[in-house]
Amino acid sequence: MTVTDERATAAPLDGEHRGGPVAWVTTTDHKKIGLMYCVTAFTYFLIGGALAGAIRAELAETGTQLVGPQTYNTLFTVHGIIMIFLFVAPFGVGLANYLLPLQIGAPDMAFPRLNAMGYWFFAGGGVLVLLSSFATDAGGVATGWYLYPPLSGPRYSPGVGPDLLIFGLALIAISTVMAGINVVTTAFLLRAPGMTMWRLPIFAWNVVVTAILGLVAFPPAVAAFVLLLFDRRLGGLAFDPAGGGDPIVYQHLFWFLGHPEVYILILPFFGVITEIIPVFSRKPLFGYTGFVLATLAIGALSVGVWAHHMFTTGVVDNPFFSAVTFMIAVPTGVKFFNWIGSMWGGSLAFRVPMLFSIGFMLNFLIGGVTGVMLASPPLDFQLADSYFLVSHFHYTIVGGSVFGIFAAIYFWWPKAFGYRLSERIGRAVFALFFVGFNLTFWPQFVVGLRGMPRRIVDYAPGLGWDTPNLVSSLGVVVLSAAVLLFLVDAFTSRRRRTPAGDDPWGGYSLEWATTSPPPEHNFSSLPRIRSERPAFDMRHPELAPHGGHTDAGERS
């Protein structure tokens, strides 16, 4: 099919944003695909959250009440896989899809059909992952999300669950690579005139680095999964010590994915709150160039830290991986000063997207400080695989990324649909989510320090573990209330349809310079692009940099 054909079959320009189910299934429009990613990912979030609820219900008190050990092991395995691979990362892909072309003034992604294919690989991979859990006959995957052999090998996990999971993850990995190619190509080649790389909005920069990390990190993981599949089904011995293999090799390959992956989970949402904070502070971002350099540094360093997951194996160079891990704390810390600098001297309005961004900063700092503790090998010897670690990464992924997801939803919802979510309900959602989150995860630091290992279905009484576990489980009730309230808001807002206008917040980047929702081709005309905030410059021409200067020149 030629390009002309494709345009002929597409919906009319300026036409219906929605369309019937067929229009959605066959769409190659980046905005529709982006929304499909986000909605699908959020649906997986609800499933993963339900699994977390079951986990916390089981751990609320000592003994096994709700589920047996086998079911419990499947619960936490699938919870981890869903939240990482089916929720947070694809939600970031969805946002990137929706926003990147709009932010750089492009009509679509570089490869629209590859884009659609990537979505369907992701959605299909997700279905396989779900099948691998509870739909298999007595063989649900129960190995922990990182599938360590020999436990995930043929002898100890003979069921079909891990095989389905491997196929599912392979599809998701391919989907990530497709999305990565698309994001990088789009950002490099489809920028509107005037949109130099040093004028790329921060969110766009962050998804570019995220995409590159996906391209680097996923292929080795697929290699590891395929070798594992050979071991499981074809008599391979790659990771079997009895046959001369070594399970440590798997750990290296897996964490070479696994650690960049955590930056894949957080970087897009660093981008999100960095878009939001200046808008609600009514001043430009502080330290754009430094922020971009910090993001690039995080990307570069994040592929050199993987073996800090292996400090306790005794077979890696702990000082090297510790040093790189400490180093990555610096560019991450720098971002806090960008955010503070962006609020400093500003005029702060605490609208819902800003509230979630503030929550992000408050929570993520704790995730960061505890992350520095875990970067120290001797402290890791004590804290690794304890609930302290569990709490640490929930402070980054939930306290950071998921707060970023809600910030993004509340910020861009009016752009995507043309009507608003309720400010009043949104405040309640934020308050419940913030309190519920800290109530759930703060006690896990305590119980981890008291020696509770992760991934246990049961614990003995009298170890000081009972109270923190109960509090943590009650926290989930508050978290669930927040999510339910959000869903009520999301569905009722459709009926209320409070009109948003094209630019409800006084936004800075190009997506606010088109209609809400944007037309199929995104822009009928573009404003002049002289900085990373063209919509801001349009409203404040007196502050806009004059054309022709380099970014560094206009900033110093």
Binding site: P284, A329, I340, L362, Q382, A384, L449
Partner: protein
């Protein structure tokens, strides 16, 4: 009466201060663990310092710069400040260099193995239990088949002596973790991990498998009792005698 109240208050304060400065971490019942505990305090104080500064600046911004006037058009517009940016990059670099140096120093102390350990303990993890052996004495302590309510095996270690632990697994990956020793190592099939423990306090310590290993992972516990060396010797010879009788 008043004096008593003062005394109680003083004791309570002291207890609180002691508890607080440990930041929830046990103080370490081995020489290796004590070193790690010291490191933990350094990190926690550094963390408090960093968090105080960052939270302070965020809190100040939120309060001082909140919008008071709804139609205020703009905040104070500025874009960058190179000297400030250099400072807030360089200071964290110095902090992490310092933390790295003390970490590696501590790791050398906590993970160094003595050339002449007093006792050698061979610990083999399996699904789901432990086989502890003192090969020099020909002694073995093995788990009962694991499961809910089955107590794990108990071993004794001598106070003040250095015990070399040779850790491995004969099936999947497990890990040996005694919480009060502030130390864990993975038990990996095909590998033998060696580390030393030198207990500094008498007591009974709870040990667990800390690497997820399958269905009875939660119940793969053990107990370490640190006793005086002569009691340890007596236990060894007694256990050896039982072993011979069984053989």
């Amino acid at each position: 009466m008043r004096r008593r109240t003062t005394q109680i208050a003083a004791i309570a304060c002291l207890a609180c201060a002691t508890a607080c400065s440990s930041f929830g971490m046990p103080r370490g019942s081995t020489e290796q663990g004590e070193a790690i505990f010291g490191l933990w305090q350094i990190f926690f104080w550094a963390g408090i310092g960093v968090a105080a500064i960052v939270y302070g600046l965020i809190g100040w911004s939120l309060i001082r710069y909140r919008r008071r006037n709804a139609d205020e058009e703009l905040g104070r517009v500025f874009y960058a400040n190179l000297p400030l940016e250099i400072v807030y990059t360089a200071v964290p670099v110095l902090i992490v260099i310092a933390l790295f140096v003390v970490s590696i120093g501590t790791e050398d102390r906590a993970s160094s193995v003595s050339a002449t350990p007093d006792v050698t303990l061979r610990a083999e993890a399996f699904s789901w239990g432990w086989r502890f052996g003192f090969p020099d004495e020909g002694i073995e302590v093995v788990s009962e088949p694991s499961g809910q309510g089955v107590p794990g095996p108990e071993i004794l270690l001598p106070l003040g002596r250095t015990t070399r632990i040779e850790l491995t697994s004969n099936d999947v990956i497990h890990a040996f973790w005694v919480h009060d020793f502030l130390y864990k190592r993975d038990a990996i099939p095909g590998h033998v991990n060696e580390f030393d423990v030198t207990p500094t306090e008498l007591g009974t310590y709870h040990g667990v498998c800390s690497e997820f290993c399958g269905i009875h992972h939660a119940y793969m516990t053990f107990t370490v009792r640190v006793v005086q060396p002569d009691e340890f010797e007596a236990w060894l010879s007694g256990a050896a005698a039982i072993g011979e009788a069984l053989a």
